[in-house]
Symmetry: C2
Subunit: 307 residues, 2 copies
DNA sequence: TGATCTCCATAAAACTTCATTATGTTTAAT
DNA sequence: ATTAAACATAATGAAGTTTTATGGAGATCA
């Protein structure tokens, strides 16, 4: 590696092809430039052929000039990457659970398409993996379904997502028996979510295990397909339902006192978030808040509780 | 840009995650490493979170580490490129006229395939362009059909290539009239070559302009196609003929005192050729010499001179 | 709990490197 | 032959770097 001042001098010298002019441009004396070249040439061999009034780069000089250009580029990239005050350029890395991710990812892409300096890196992952990725600095920002208890993590409330019982559009649910009749489409968090929501909807029910299973998918984008086809019901966070294309084929059933999960933005507490990330957080919060006010797709008439 | 010693210290620190151990590995005192980090952090912001017995890189630190790796790579590439003593690695750039190029290019590819460290860059070009490319350092080595008179150029004899009158295999040439009968396939140097060779073969002939033209191509690899198809004769250097695939379809006619062009290796005289280039020159000389001893494809019985 | 140890930061001194001034050499131009 | 232009080199003072010396904060262990 080389003294950066020497590189600068060499690059200017290669442009000017004159020690004197290069020195002027560099605000140095000609002697300084001359010594820089001597230093470089001691390490690299001859870089410049000195002919009276006509300098010329040797092949070594040309190779070294390419090297200088490479280093210059690396410098620019570093500056770009470290310019955390730029709101509309740089990389945004976000890792979220599936359900909310389905909603966020299109929003991010919209943001990116109106703001081509941003580069989105998004990953769907379960809670554990989100936390790990944030702790290991692999992602700047994460979304978690719980508030983590770790001093290295800062959490701020993002939004709330109610759990929903989602049934084929044609079905009416009057009681537990209807669920047993149409069957449960399971997913990785299916049992946990079902347990929490169904105990509120149907107090004293015999448990999700007693309901026939009519399907399973761990692909969050596909979980509502079987429901839309009338093959069963499922329990999902609202955002997972809202991201589904064929809304007309499904229907959400909700109780009066809903089961609501909180979603948290999480990031490393030790270092400040780049302002582009902060502005993306604001953007997502606004968009999500706007969605909640609108069509929630929820039954106007909640079902009666079954005794 | 940054003091290279600071970079080194940072890279080692990032590996060791300990100032003390890094200093040991760097053969410095711990105080020195500490100051290097202070210098870097003054310019870049915090790079390392100091926790008791547990250092950790900040995102800035990770970005800077990537930068260090980039610079390291650029360094390695430079070293590789400047290692002119390595005979079997690096780039060979060669620029040659078409005819000999047809023979050299396959030889170079053979060499490269048995020697994967070498990278061949070959270009076909007319003499003027060869000279220009060598003078401008765009190619290390060139082949010219004449010895250039320029103090910046070193020329060494490469090989000789006789001019040949090439006719369709079925034709017999007994005199000038036969040439007029079958017609001339022209190419960029066609008139010049024809003038020189035909005045020796058929002294006192009325000149190539009086012969009907039956074709023209400036693509040296294709010039013999029309001849092979019986459409005419042409005049080419021997190497152009030797590189032709369908040898059985053509025939070379030669006189007792052939017209022989010399081919010269040329390169810039100011700087020594990398040894890989020297070894390629040697390789090509040997291969070409070997070819000349073998099947030259020339008529055993030269035609009689026509008066 | 206090002594001890490890690890990093900082200050001052010793040392090294760097830029400048001054001067020499070479070459082209007058 | 003289002059001017352009680069190299030597010497010197300024700036930067490394080391030694020291201090403080947190772990470790009796």
């Amino acid at each position: 590696m080389f003294n950066p001042q020497w590189l600068r001098s060499f690059v200017v010298l290669a442009e000017e092809l004159s020690f004197t002019r290069a020195a002027e441009r560099l605000d140095l004396t000609q002697a300084a430039v001359s010594q820089h070249m001597r230093q470089l040439e001691e390490q690299l061999g001859q870089l410049v052929v000195r002919r009276p009034r006509q300098l010329e780069l040797t092949p070594t000089g040309l190779a070294f000039l390419d090297y200088c250009k490479e280093v210059e580029c690396a410098d620019k990239r570093l500056q770009q990457r470290l310019n955390t005050n730029c709101e509309d350029c740089g990389e945004i890395s976000l890792i979220t659970p599936g359900s909310i991710g389905l909603v966020l990812y299109p929003l991010l892409l919209t943001l990116q398409s109106s703001n081509r300096g941003l580069i989105m890196r998004h990953r769907f992952a379960p809670d554990v993996e989100v936390l790990e990725a944030i702790l290991q600095n692999r992602f700047e920002l994460g979304v978690l379904t719980y508030r983590p208890d770790d001093s290295r993590i800062d959490a701020s409330l993002f939004t709330e997502e109610p759990l929903e019982l989602i049934v084929p559009a044609g079905e009416t649910i009057n009681g537990w028996d209807d669920l047993v009749r149409i069957g449960f489409i399971d997913h990785p968090d299916g049992h946990a979510m079902a347990g929490r929501l169904l105990s509120r909807l149907f107090p004293g029910n015999p448990g999700i295990r007693t309901v026939p299973h009519s399907g399973f998918s761990n692909q969050v984008g596909l979980q509502l397909e079987p429901v839309a086809m009338g093959l069963g019901f499922t329990i999902l966070p609202r955002y997972a339902r809202q991201a589904f294309k064929r809304q007309e084929a499904i229907r959400a059933v909700c109780c009066e006192t809903p089961v609501i999960d909180k979603l948290w933005f999480v990031h490393r507490s030790e270092w400040a978030l780049p302002s582009r990330v902060v502005s993306v957080m604001t953007y997502l919060r606004e968009k999500i808040a706007g969605m909640e006010g609108g069509n929630t797709g929820i039954d106007a008439h909640p079902i009666r509780e079954v005794t």
